[in-house]
Symmetry: C2
Subunit: 331 residues, 2 copies
């Protein structure tokens, strides 16, 4: 990190708009939705569901984008690269990130599928039923990665979800090479246990060469090394990358760096309202501290605070209510 | 407060939309604006300035509305009464309050002036130049006060600004009578030192009879009693209303109730970014605690926390960034 940087972190991932509405149980039945499920849906289905949803709240989403929004909320310099279509939701995505002070100027697609979205139906029992349409986001390829932004960022942060398509995997490779050639770090989040199962060999090869900072939760890291026990996974990952941040839900996290093991306490959460985004925000806090040159203990502890903030309310965004503030100050 | 209530607090005030844009100094010169000033503007001027402003952020504002948004952010049950026009900014106002969980169903005006707005131009030096057009908000009259909502609220909270027009003053009187007849409390914020000068006799008469909880800062309370010293003002107000909350900026606040004097420490604020809304949010915290039956010390301390939260960022809204959270947890 010797050269001057324009950004602390640039994220690359699936650019999705979160579309949320409150509906009754009859809505789920009427549209054959299983409460609490997460489903990937296609073209016709997304149009039908989107139009059926009542008063909709729309904001930029997607795992890596949530991390960058969190980084900006800490005061870090954030950028994002992803693919949206030149439609209304593409505008929502871009305006929303701009308002949250995340630099985003990826050109928008003028043909092909619409902007990707995650349709979130919230029922009166506070359950969330999610239907994700990847749309334009899944067409990200190497030609869409602004390498000047990558070179100008201390860390390039990548979603594991990118591995689900060859073009995105190639975008990943190109970004990683440019970052390393510029003396920068590359960070990877494994994203999801099923994603790890699908791409285990690729991920294992990468972690040995192309990843400096790894983020994974217990489920992901044990699946990656096909072991039952968290400590066995720790033994396997040690020495493979510069830093591995392994999160353990309400049991905090462990940061592995060479021979060092930093045990990070979870931040007290008086009310666990919704854990969506906790992993994304942990990465935000850690990377903020890391790019400011803080100690690994402090980086982990900022990750815990950010995760606690997002667990205390509904949704994956870092804005805190006054009720949360009082709870956190009192605890 | 014996009967069941639907709301903890209903606020009545000037319903304004805050319209904010970032402009350079040449914009101020080009439109004859004095940096840092607050100006009341009329019809033609508001249209010209509004259209000249670049990418605009629009959200519900107004002093009492900010207090009710803060109350809702604490988890309190909030309602608001005010006058907007049936135009785009009226829709912004209503949707925004709904999203922040403040009940608002005042019918919108279909003739007369447009929805009131506060045009806020932010220059690169972070200074705010404000131009307020009262528009429809100033036409609030007694016929627009939903007395069922007033009777169903533990506290009716009123802005001093209402005293600038006879119809609004009459709305104030009608609301106060209905609240007291239902065994509820009435709270008043003096709003502004100039406003106090304009209506000193009215305010003095009211505080002796119609106000249970008074909010005022040092400037307002010393002007009200035409004294130089804060302690002299305290001596004057004691016994006049049930509770007087006197805020002293960075020196905290004093809560006077009968013979009792509660000195409330300010909450540590690592960075004073923008004090706009600090008084509104102090009232939010105090009234939240009050309507939950907490001790006056705790009510004051919740007021201090809410004020600290809003001073730590730009604007009058309670949402906190992660940077603020870390600062507040560390301090």
């Amino acid at each position: 990190m010797s050269e001057t940087s324009t950004y602390d972190v640039v994220g690359i991932g699936n650019a999705l708009v979160d579309v949320l509405s409150h509906e009754d149980d009859a809505f789920l039945e009427g549209h054959d939705l299983t409460k609490g499920s997460m489903t990937l849906i296609e073209d016709d289905r997304v149009r039908e569901l989107y139009e059926a949803m009542g008063q909709r709240t729309e904001m930029s989403g997607g795992s890596a984008a949530n991390t960058l929004v969190g980084l900006a909320s800490f005061g870090g310099r954030a950028a994002y690269i992803g693919r949206v279509h030149d439609d209304d939701l593409g505008t929502v995505f871009a305006h929303d990130l701009a308002g949250l002070e995340v630099h985003f100027d990826s050109p928008r697609a003028t043909d092909g599928p619409a902007t990707g979205r995650c349709l979130i139906v919230v029922t009166p029992d506070a359950q969330r039923t999610m239907n994700t349409y990847l749309g334009a986001s899944s067409l990200l390829g190497p030609e869409h990665v602004d390498l000047d932004v990558v070179r100008a960022s201390k860390v390039t942060f990548l979603e594991g979800y990118l591995f689900d398509r060859d073009a995105a995997k190639e975008a990943y490779r190109v970004a990683t090479e440019a970052a390393h050639a510029a003396g920068r770090d590359v960070a990877l989040s494994l994203s999801d246990g099923f994603c790890v199962d699908r791409h285990r060999d690729d991920f294992l090869a990468l972690i040995d060469g192309g990843v400096d900072i790894l983020f994974a939760n217990t489920d992901e890291i044990t699946r990656l090394y096909e072991v039952d026990d968290f400590d066995d996974a720790v033994a396997k990952v040690r020495g493979r990358c510069k830093v591995a941040c392994l999160t353990k839900g309400r049991h905090g996290s462990v940061v592995i760096a060479g021979d060092e093991t930093h045990v990070i306490a979870p931040h007290e959460v008086p009310k666990r309202v919704d854990t969506t985004g906790a992993g994304d925000l942990y990465a935000a806090g850690f990377l903020y501290g890391y790019t400011q040159g803080m100690s690994l203990d402090r980086c982990g502890s900022l990750g815990s605070m950010a995760a606690a903030a997002v667990i205390g309310h509904t949704g994956a965004r870092p804005g805190l209510s006054l009720a949360q503030l009082v709870d956190l100050l009192d605890s």
